[in-house]
Symmetry: C2
Subunit: 445 residues, 2 copies
Amino acid sequence: MALDDVRLGRIKPAPENFLSDEDIQSVKEGRRDFLRKAFVAAGAAVAAPAVANAQSAGDPAILELPPWSKMLGKPVAANPYGMPSMYEKNLVRRESPGLTRVSGSSVAFTPLQGLFGIITPSGLHFERHHQGWVDVDPNKHRLMINGLVKTNAVFTMDDIMRLPSVSRIHFIECGANTGMEWGNVAVPTVQYSHGMLSCSEFTGVPLKAILDMCGADYKKGRFILAEGADGSSMTRTIPMEMVESGEVLVAYGMNGEMLRPENGYPLRLVVPGVQGVSWVKWLRRIEVGDKPWATKDEAVHYIDLMPDGLHRQYSSIQECKSVITTPSGGQLLLDKGFYNVSGLAWSGRGKITRVDVSTDGGVNWRTARLETPVLSKALTRFNIDWVWDGKPAILQSRAVDETGYVQPSYGQLRAVRGTKSIYHNNAIQSWKVVESGEVSNVQVL
Amino acid sequence: MALDDVRLGRIKPAPENFLSDEDIQSVKEGRRDFLRKAFVAAGAAVAAPAVANAQSAGDPAILELPPWSKMLGKPVAANPYGMPSMYEKNLVRRESPGLTRVSGSSVAFTPLQGLFGIITPSGLHFERHHQGWVDVDPNKHRLMINGLVKTNAVFTMDDIMRLPSVSRIHFIECGANTGMEWGNVAVPTVQYSHGMLSCSEFTGVPLKAILDMCGADYKKGRFILAEGADGSSMTRTIPMEMVESGEVLVAYGMNGEMLRPENGYPLRLVVPGVQGVSWVKWLRRIEVGDKPWATKDEAVHYIDLMPDGLHRQYSSIQECKSVITTPSGGQLLLDKGFYNVSGLAWSGRGKITRVDVSTDGGVNWRTARLETPVLSKALTRFNIDWVWDGKPAILQSRAVDETGYVQPSYGQLRAVRGTKSIYHNNAIQSWKVVESGEVSNVQVL
């Protein structure tokens, strides 16, 4: 495309991106005034790329040299551990107030609407705790192995970190992600609808190697119990075949550094493809056993009430799912024209093979570009071009994984699962765009 | 291996890992006292995994429930933007004092000795500035395209962020990384010897797409000039064929979020495989031209003085290189036994195909395991087992890339390049282990 042919549309981000406080205030006070101002600004900016430099000289931003081009900046290691720009201070994880009785057992959602690629910055990794988070002293932390093993054992962090390690990029999604939508509660932004989702490079020791050292009885011991050291003593059963695959890790590293306290420092279980609750944080004990334990968090919580009145238990694999992160709920398209539609796809059963995108509520679909690397049980970033004609539109994405599984519509999901669930919603997400450019969350069956 | 067969060695990390202030003080005051204490502690800990739980009950850490297992922890979003554990506060980037006249034009090194996998946490990305770092207002920032193009243009950040984007994982290495070693200055730790090296997932627009929009003259315009908006007005020539390959990005995203101010927020050039100085930060202008510009930072700096007295210029590709990050200089092996030897390999010309490791100074070599994904022009993590017999050892790694290039020894490198260089040292790194377990930096020809 040549510059003259391109009419760049622009997005007013949901109020978490680099907007001035004034901008955000305008949005809060009512969109109209803000919209007028924004259109003026957008008009000026759209003109810029399409004109020769004679005209763009009228752009005040390039008429004079900004202060940062005329000064000695800050020294290196001014922040020995660096932080984002001051203009990004609104892009943070956020709690949905009132979701639980105390914030220690609540959720802080990842701001997917402002993120790129597949790696989630560790500072923005979603949080879900059962009794708050703790900063465990690694010198005092221990991992105990017991049950159907020849030798019970207790490992220090030093012991664990000296063992052969592997590093792998995987997504982690809470089983309750997109849970509000079962009740047709259209939460306003993708942060709240899909933000219990992150993807990191994890480093640790395959649990299989540790169980081998202890002489685990793999014939009788077909399950393990993982237990955390926080106040909730989170306990989860995991089938031994997952451990035997070599994929389950006793991890201490996340995105290159030690785990963050909120994510289980100094040790958590990594169970690729499985819902987050099984990735037990502050991991202190692994027991090998011959049957599932049916603990509180697998008998009462994280289960699905089916239409026949029975509960589905141990349904831990996160099925194939995707979501468009931009444009998404709460954002505002400020003009007709070209947009880069971008989103995330993932499957607990392997690699993503295709993502299709519709802008007309599922009538027509086009196949999006997948960014590489496409990894098993990791987020996959997709992008596709879209020229908005200014008319109402409904944006959807539909992912397919390497098993051939196709992400279902709400109609398809409900036909099987009913409407009483809280967990394991992987239906196609719809974002409605109206003439004013407002983007909102709608449910399309 | 069974637990009884494993005698886990342990490493006293260089004083940047989770050591108490007391530990670090001990190291500073002289190792002897510290060593005694450490051996006692290590002895107790080594015993633990090898005994049944009857004995490990003697471990005070598991005799009583720690406080964090009995309390309600902190709420979610206590840190809306999270930070590392308080026990990791010594793992930071560090300046080498006195390296330059002012810290605004200095280097802060990445603590490779404490990192895992291939992704560098953005807070620990190395820094190298020429006139300090600045936090540029994205609403006022502009990118201008001029020179041999049909239409000069000025882009706002909004314009850039609406264009089709790609996300890719690449390493960035300063051309001066490991530069002190040319003068046989054995800097003490891998942080200072190799820490001008990071690897991130970058998101942005291929520069080719932007030049296409402006109608660049690819026949005459065989070079581009990239210019930064900081006080140093950093300018670098880049061959157009690199742009035409589609690999050069105008990037705004790093590890999922906007670039950090120290790394060029809101816009930097990404030039995969090329030395860091060409990845112009705070990018404000791209000019298309018909010959190299020979700017200060390519005519006077970032050049190599060869044995024949001539300078090598525009030698921008970072050749195949590797380094063992643990065990590494400044660390201390506290016991004989099993160690996981881990390190990083990379090549500016493509993928790493093999890394060999020697523990006897290059006489014998074994091939290490490469962690996946192995990506082009990205860091590759390697791991290999080693049982230390308590005798002196010299640890080395030697990488091979997909072009067949083999990382040279110091002898091989100097035979071609002489000894007068500052930049582009990719020789094999040697870490010497002595009987006491001390690890130090030595040069092996």
